[in-house]
């Protein structure tokens, strides 16, 4: 019996590796190897393919590089402002749409979800065309007397950042809303009924019942949105830059770490080692923020 068991185990083992091998191999070659190679490269200095070991020279260069500091600053601004704004809006929309008596519920849900089906570059280009100086958005805002003067979306650093935040929020709010909506629909409604009879007001029910029960989904959406925002590239490049130059928005006000890495590698004289060092800043930021968010939102026993 023991030997039969062992041969069965072996049979399972061989089959197990057989099924898993292609994926493990591909991830090894196209993920694990490059990320380690990047780490090694971050200790190399020099231009193009002519590199030598530079120790911590690249890390030192980070602190003396105002462009890097600006890119890090912009990326963090986008992350700190955009992720909470979007997730709050998504949660609010989901809790409004969770009401089964709401009319046109399916229609509204589909409409709000629609942006996340759009092409990433396509929508960026649409936003570019709507937010030009005398374009649709400005003429509407001036026409409605919300502002007296056109807003300098493309020429003022502050407004350029606002535009990027508006764009990403448009694209991803509905996506996150769907996760919240699904989680809300799994909540047993009798809990609400009981607390309503006990006289808990609706905002109290929201903050003391809904939010704690949604913690796992809030964690999921926060971590995925963080990873997405820290890698921001497509929108900045397609709304803010033109082929003519490498500037990302007025005074590089929308320059993100990913755009800077791209510029360092493919626009300027390539400096692979230094670009790899900058990319490791994103790796560390993602890891650090994911750990913080995980501990802040974990289920407490």
């Amino acid at each position: 019996m023991a030997s039969a068991n062992r041969s069965l185990n072996r049979y399972f083992n061989i089959n197990g590796w057989f099924f898993v091998a292609p994926a493990a191999l591909l991830i090894g070659v196209f993920m694990v190897y490059p990320i380690l190679y990047s780490l090694w490269m971050s200790f190399q200095t020099g231009k193009g393919m002519m590199t030598q070991f530079g120790g911590l020279a690249n890390i030192k260069r980070l602190f003396d590089d105002p462009m890097f500091v600006l890119a890090l600053y912009n990326t963090m601004i986008f992350f700190i402002v955009q992720v909470p704004v979007m997730l709050t809006l998504a949660l609010f929309l989901a809790s409004l749409l969770d009401n089964p008596n709401l009319k046109f519920r399916g229609l509204i849900r589909t409409a709000i979800f629609l942006p996340c089906v759009s092409s990433l570059v396509g929508y960026a280009v649409l936003f570019k065309s709507m937010f030009v100086q005398d374009g649709l958005i400005n003429s509407t805002l001036v026409g409605l007397h919300i502002t007296d003067q056109p807003i300098p979306w493309m020429t003022d650093p502050f407004w350029a950042r606002v535009l990027i935040i508006i764009a990403i929020t448009w694209r991803w709010t509905g996506y996150n809303m769907i996760f919240f909506l699904a989680a809300l629909q799994n909540i047993d409604k009798s809990i609400y009924e009981a607390s309503r009879i006990d006289g808990v007001p609706s905002w109290g029910r929201f903050f003391y019942l809904t939010v704690p029960m949604l913690k796992p989904v809030i964690l999921f959406t926060t971590v995925t949105s963080t990873i997405g925002t820290l890698q921001l590239f497509d929108e900045v490049r397609n709304i803010m830059t033109s082929d003519a130059g490498s500037a990302a928005g007025p005074s590089n006000s929308a320059l993100t770490l990913s755009v800077y890495i791209y510029n360092l590698t493919f626009k300027f004289v390539p400096s692979f080692g230094y670009a790899a060092t900058v990319s490791y800043v994103i790796v560390l930021a993602v890891a650090l923020l994911a750990i913080i968010q995980f501990y802040a939102l974990r289920e407490k026993d």
Binding site: F19, F30, P34, L107, S118, W170, A275
Partner: protein, 272 residues
């Protein structure tokens, strides 16, 4: 609450949701209207249907080999999606059905790659593709996307719902493991495959940064790259840009409306 406050609350709810729904849909309407307007009208913010549609299509079709570019995108997305689904479903099934201590470790390592930002991979991948002589080929775009930790995770989670009785019965009947996978698992998990197809196809279709780096000649470019390069001209022809944006949006929009239910289920299923 008295009737008045309730009516007021309902009014604000509908007004807010109505505005949100309008803002969400409007850029799509803008895109379609824009395709019929001249670039000058678009930049001036004209709302309404114009008469420049044919001119815009002509402008787009004379600067770009439209069928080729569209075909490039379709080809890359379909091949990448098919290979991703094969590799990920094999792995998801393997990890869930044949558990072992070492495979759990490999699985954890694979999940960890979910946090790796693409920016940290692109330079080594670019050098690697150069050494393999694959720069400016579609394989350079496809290969790095096939091993997807997210899709493997998705298949493993879905496999938990695959009844083990089916597998045991098949084993008693003398089926080999790969036969069980091919003849029983794949047909039973149709809806999982459909949902994963949508997710992966969308991601591949929208892929921008990596194709931007590896695809250099015009004959190789995807629709996404074409939209981007048309719009980043110093004086973009926004009419042509709108036509190209419609073409870039249409496939994913069609997939969404045809498979809306699987679409949402697939998204949500990946979290559970």
């Amino acid at each position: 609450m008295d009737r008045f406050t309730r009516a007021l609350a309902a009014f604000f709810t509908y007004a807010f949701l109505g505005i949100m729904a309008f803002l969400s849909v409007f850029p799509f309407i803008w895109m379609v209207m824009g395709a019929t307007n001249t670039s000058i009208d678009i930049v001036k913010g004209k709302v309404g249907i114009g008469s420049a549609l044919m001119d815009n299509i002509r402008a787009f079709a004379t600067t770009v080999d439209v069928p080729l570019v569209f075909w490039n995108s379709i080809k890359i997305a379909l091949i990448a999606t098919a290979l991703t689904l094969i590799v990920a479903s094999l792995a998801g099934y393997g990890f869930e059905v044949f558990r072992s201590k070492y495979r759990e470790r490999v699985y954890s390592a694979i999940l960890l790659t979910l946090m790796v930002p693409f920016a940290a991979l692109m330079i080594p991948l670019f050098i690697m593709m150069g050494k393999l002589g694959l720069i400016d080929t579609h394989w350079a775009v496809i290969l790095p996307t096939i091993g997807s930790a997210f899709v493997i995770f998705y298949f493993r989670q879905s496999t938990k719902a695959f009844p083990s009785e089916l597998r045991d019965a098949a084993r008693v009947d003398g089926l080999k493991e790969w036969q069980i996978f091919l003849l029983i698992y794949v047909p039973v998990m149709r809806s999982t495959y459909a949902a994963a197809f949508i997710i992966v196809f969308m991601a591949s279709w929208n892929n921008y940064l990596w194709p931007l780096i590896v695809l250099q000649s015009n004959e190789m470019k995807t629709i996404t790259l074409v939209v981007s390069s048309l719009a980043s001209a110093y004086y973009p022809d926004f009419g042509a840009v709108m036509v190209s944006a419609i073409l870039a949006t249409l496939p994913t929009l069609i997939v969404f409306f045809v498979m809306q239910r699987q679409f949402v289920q697939g998204m949500i299923g990946s979290v559970k």
